[in-house]
């Protein structure tokens, strides 16, 4: 396992966007994540797989410090974004989250209009100076999220009135409207039907050209379809991390193999 990681680093050092070293997460006395070392590459889709409760969502939430909102959570180790430690005392998590956007498991549009859902992020970050500029951001974000054609005539109607798949794409559009550098997705398709899932997956593949995307998924097929690199978590440990093809066809760790073939998890 150690050997493999060194090999990875040798190959990809220059493109690394986020690198985590010796990350430990505790929920109270529960040691939820142990010694996680990961390098997430720029303009790549990285999938986190593993059985429920293995810590993959916990690790994802460390990457934009969403765990700060959980009172009992404690994070140790270093996570750097472009070489800067995001857990440095000087870092404001609000600024970090503008750079590292997030899409949640359940679609959670604001109970406002579709337009206001997208415009909220740019507004609070002061990304625009005029209404027309804001209109432009809303339009391009919705286009990137492949939702524009469906909602362009009803931008004033409530975002909560859309279907589940549309809501999730609205949330993706909302996340990319703030022009982040990394997009975190926590099981974005778990509440969607296969058609909506296919649309979101297609979207993820397109987003790869602009962002580094990290996706947590329970579906190994999905991980295989959308990601270039895959990390397998088990019981709070990062078991194996590498090229998606290699993980699924030729796993080095017996636990990875057992999970992929359906024997654990």
């Amino acid at each position: 396992m150690n050997d493999m990681r060194i090999a990875e680093r040798n190959v990809d050092t220059n493109e690394s966007k986020i690198s985590a070293r010796k990350v430990q997460v505790y929920y109270g006395t529960n040691h939820a994540l142990k010694d996680v070392d990961v390098d997430i590459l720029d303009k790549t889709v990285t999938a986190f797989i593993g059985p429920s409760g293995c810590g993959k969502s916990t690790f994802l939430r460390c990457l934009n410090r969403m765990n700060d909102t959980v009172a009992s959570a404690r994070v140790e180790g270093t996570i750097t974004l472009d070489g800067e430690n995001i857990y440095d005392a000087k870092v404001d998590p609000v600024q970090l989250r503008a750079k590292v956007g997030m899409v949640f498991q359940k679609p959670n549009p604001f109970p406002k209009s579709i337009y206001d859902n997208i415009a909220y992020g740019p507004k609070i970050h002061g990304l625009t100076r005029s209404k027309s500029e804001l209109d432009g951001i809303v339009e391009t974000s919705l286009k990137k999220a492949a939702l524009w054609n469906e909602v362009k005539d009803r931008l004033d109607s409530p975002g909560t009135g859309l279907s589940g798949g549309q809501q999730q794409r609205l949330c993706i559009a909302r996340a990319i409207a703030t022009q982040p550098e990394v997009l975190l997705m926590d099981e974005p398709c778990s509440a969607l039907d296969p058609i909506a899932t296919a649309q979101v997956e297609e979207l993820i593949d397109e987003l790869r050209s602009q962002f580094s995307v990290v996706i947590v998924t329970h579906s190994m097929q999905q991980a295989a379809r959308v990601s270039q690199r895959t990390a397998f978590f088990h019981l709070g440990n990062l078991v194996e991390y590498g090229e998606t093809g290699q993980i699924f066809t030729n796993p080095k760790d017996p636990r990875t193999e057992s999970y992929i073939t359906g024997r654990i998890g």
Partner: protein, 450 residues
Amino acid sequence: MTDISAAPASGSHRGSLLVQDELTRKRNAAETRFRLYGIVAISIAMLALAALLISIFSAGMPAFRQTFVTIPIELPADKLDKSGTRDSAVMAKVTTVGYAKVINEALAAALAAKGISTDGMTEKQIAGLLSPEAPAQLRNYVLANPAVVGTSLPEFELLANGRVDGFFKGRVTMESAKLDSNITPEQLQVAQKMTDAGLMGKRFNWAFITAPDASDQRPEAAGLGVAILGSLYMMIVVLVLSLPIGVAAAVYLEEFAVKNFWTDLIEVNIANLAAVPSIVFGILGLAVFINFAGLPQSAPIVGGLVLTLMTLPRIIIPARAALKAVPPSIRDAALGVGASKVQSVFHHVLPLAAPGILTGMIIGLAQALGETAPLLLIGMVAFVRDYPGGLPGGLFDPATALPVQVYSWTTRGDPGFVERASGAIIVLLVFLLIMNAVAIVLRRRFERRW
């Protein structure tokens, strides 16, 4: 639980579907029984409510109608304005005693004109048909319109005596009048003749809502004006103070405070404060606001402050519940796009919690409006005939409050105050209903905006 596990063992569910087996019958019987219990409980509650409303309304509605005597009155200038200046400051020297004589002459003339005999009645008994308030009514009218002196008022309405009023409302009968030193059957007979002659009649009595309180001997003149103003002023103080403080406290505790020993302690104490008997807040108000801070007694500002203390925990608790009911996914969404904690609270969480907070607020205000005990201790149970001034100075003037007025009227001797107290309860109930209706409307309106 045992039913479920027993069923497969006995194999009873293998029978025909068209025949109910023993277990199903039992379950259905239990269901019918529970439905019945519910209906009985609701019926009891509805009956109690109906009994309450019927008793209050049947006792209180007469207070809104009052018997008036309508007679022509001569206003002789030589008696009411000897100086001849028609200056109300000079005319104010003539007291109600002077006006009583004028009224008595006018009444005697009116009775004679209609051919109503008053043989065997003393002058005092004839005057006793009218309220002791009647001279004051006429005097106030003349002082407000000095030009009428020296002329004759073709029709002037004077309050009838409370006993006479009670006779037309069924409270006083010929039999009870025989035992009553305040009224005689002869007086009632004359009153009946006056009604037949069109000199006396009942009509809607605005003065019950607008007039100030009146003394023990004249229930017919007592009104709720000062009490309504006092209650209104107190509600303004409560609203202005408890809305921002209560919401800020709820938001801080729910959204920002770290959960530790101290916040737990504060939480427990807020819950305890909501359960503290309200009279304790009255003692606190007396000690702190009146004795220590030196604020005036009987003043709406003190009542408002005491009620604010009492209302705060009752606002904070539902406000926290409303904030807690906002799904955490909304907070995640806001933080996820890079909103700060304050932005997520004020842009997303608070607007969603607003209907619940407002409802709690209005219910808290309604409770404060009906609260009596703490106000007794800070002197609001006083006899106040002067309206408090305009805002904000009026907050420091003496006033009473609606529930306290009910209390003080129920302690008075004259039976005329029974209907007054019930009528005041009706006014209080109407205000409470209006507030609850406003709460429902606000809730609907805010919720429609998702």
